[in-house]
């Protein structure tokens, strides 16, 4: 039997789905994914410990989640995940010299790039949302019957999801043309992003993390640990969502164009 295809070959979406399925499977099998999944369990372990130590002090428990665990997710977990998965979309194929297996198949390069991007973003979102779900509901176990709790969780998950989309698109773009994209990415993710977000005024809007923070369900906070809300001059949620989506789309478009036109030579 011949593969299902139109006369001109498979459509973009068909190719995209095939690549997505291939890399979703491959991505889940790597040692890197296991390590990052374990890393995501850190907030869960902290949540369990906090619940034990602060048993009965519900207000403190919620504050710990907002001011410590979310800092872990927003400024560390999704940055490191997006950095390693994003830059690897092209780099692992060129450094591992497996690119010919993909680009000699009847698939457009755009479908290859976007299919792999979508597979890795999905994997990351599963890792982050699992960790977020467990830590959030362990910390807020006393409010299970409050419907607002679930909306708050969805808002956190949505903000982190959008952050993953935007960060991964940016790092994927770096990976298409830089040989040492991970170094540049580290400087961006843990240098620029960490510093600029605490600048007052509009300067902080030059960081991706600002838009993620603007989407967080806010609560009054002034404690010494309120790192996420410190000096935050939030952007309107709708604008923040739009900005993250546009940034993701722009860097993906650039990365696709580069991947389509660039020739990758393997170092012997």
């Amino acid at each position: 039997m011949k593969p299902k295809a139109s006369a001109g070959g498979p459509s973009f979406w068909t190719s995209f789905r095939r690549v997505f399925a291939f890399f979703f499977f491959l991505g889940g099998r790597t040692g890197r994914s296991r390590v990052f999944f374990l890393l995501g369990l850190i907030p869960v372990a902290i949540a369990v410990m906090v619940r034990i130590v602060l048993a009965g002090r519900t207000g403190d428990v919620v504050a710990v989640f907002n001011e410590i665990l979310m800092v872990f997710f927003v400024t560390f977990d999704i940055v490191i995940l997006s950095l390693f998965y994003g830059t690897s979309i092209v780099a692992e194929e060129t450094e591992g010299r497996t690119l010919p297996y993909l680009i000699t198949r009847p698939l457009s390069k755009t479908a290859i790039f976007l299919g792999k991007y979508a597979a890795y973003v999905t994997l990351m979102f599963i890792m982050v949302s699992t960790s977020l779900f467990l830590s959030f509901f362990i910390m807020n176990g006393h409010r299970f019957r409050d419907p607002a709790l679930y909306l708050t969780f969805l808002r956190y998950a949505g903000a982190l999801g959008l952050g993953i989309l935007a960060y991964t698109a940016f790092f994927a773009f770096l990976g298409t043309f830089l040989k040492r994209a991970i170094l540049v990415g580290l400087m961006f993710g843990f240098g620029w992003e960490n510093i600029i977000q605490y600048f007052p005024g509009s300067t902080q809007k030059f960081s991706l993390v600002h838009y993620m923070k603007s989407l967080m369900p806010r609560r009054p906070s002034g404690g010494p640990l309120s790192m996420l809300l410190f000096r935050l001059e939030p952007t309107e949620p709708a604008v923040a969502v739009l900005t993250l989506v546009v940034i993701a789309a722009a860097f993906l478009a650039l990365a696709c164009w580069l991947f389509r036109t660039k020739e990758y030579l393997f170092e012997e």
Binding site: F22, T30, G96, R97, Y101, R105, K109
Partner: protein
């Protein structure tokens, strides 16, 4: 016969380095051997034919259609890369079925094709082992399997025999010939002359990015017969042996190797020389330790062709 693959004035360079220069070829169905030393341009040629690179000048077409940015053509092409590179965390089975999935075959057919391909390369028993645990020979074979599993019309094999033991080489050569019998167009590259000779007599010789010769290998060898053959004989008494050949008019030149332990002879009549050598050795009671032909290798052939 109609050309399946055609290149016209194909040229490619990497910065200032020439990869391929003005290559115009027509490749028909059957096996075509691409011969050349390392760095000659064989892999560049194959990457251009499989659309991995864009030519700087000229064009390459498969079935009359340009290859570059025409990924629909790749359904008809199977490519086995030179480099020993894999997705190491998966099993041989997962590797093959995953790549077959990229063609959009239904699940049942993916299974059937993967079973068939693994059977062909005799890896069925090891299909559930991770690729990282495979030996070099097994890795070569699974790489070959992924190139043929989708039953392409055109199979392009970049140094497929490298790293294989003699038995593995024989098996793979037999397999490649079976694909030829099935009417496929196969391009196979190697820098080892006997490997290509075992598969086909139709060769393209490439050197420094240029085509030196193409056609039937025997015709090319006949061409080389115009150059004298060099024969080295390491023996117990090289000077005594040389004395016996002095009157022989077919000998063009004689010299002694290091420490006088070997005699190096240049002749146009190699077969006649060997028969005389037998007589001389027996009559002179000379003990021969080794006979070799320093110029009977691909490098020497290339040296002749480039006029070194």
């Amino acid at each position: 016969m109609t050309a399946v693959i055609e290149t016209k004035n194909l040229s490619k360079w990497y910065g200032n380095v020439l990869g391929l220069s003005d290559v115009s070829l027509e490749i028909e169905s059957g096996i075509t051997g691409l011969l050349g030393p390392n760095g000659a341009g064989k892999s560049t040629f194959m990457k251009l034919v499989t659309g991995q690179m864009k030519p700087n000048i000229g064009r390459v077409s498969v079935g009359g259609r340009d290859v570059w940015n025409n990924f629909h053509l790749f359904r008809r092409v199977g490519f086995c890369p030179e480099q020993d590179a894999f997705y190491e965390d998966v099993t041989g089975w997962e590797f093959l079925t995953g790549l077959l999935g990229l063609y959009g075959f239904p699940p049942q057919e993916i299974t059937e094709r993967a079973v068939r391909a693994l059977d062909i390369v005799e890896l069925s028993k090891d299909k559930d082992r991770k690729i990282r645990s495979y030996s070099r020979g097994m890795r070569q074979r699974v790489k070959f399997a992924q190139a043929v599993a989708h039953d392409p019309e055109i199979i392009i094999l970049d140094e497929p025999l490298s790293g294989l033991d003699p038995l593995g080489k024989r098996r793979l050569i037999r397999l490649i010939r079976d694909f030829q019998s099935a009417g496929k167009t196969i391009i196979v590259s190697s820098h080892v002359l006997p490997e290509i000779e075992a598969m086909t007599s139709r060769v393209i010789m490439i050197h420094q990015g240029k085509i030196l010769a193409q056609g039937d290998i025997h015709s090319i060898r006949d061409l080389i017969e115009t150059y004298p053959h060099m024969i080295s004989i390491r023996c117990s008494d090289a000077r005594a042996l040389a004395a016996r050949f002095v009157p022989d008019k077919s000998i063009l030149k004689m010299s002694f190797g290091p420490e006088g332990r070997s005699l190096v002879v240049e002749t146009h009549q190699r077969d006649a020389f060997f028969s005389r050598l037998q007589t001389a050795v027996v009559e002179g009671g000379i003990e021969v330790e080794e006979i070799s032909s320093p110029d009977d290798n691909l490098q020497a052939v290339f040296d002749y062709l480039v006029g070194k």
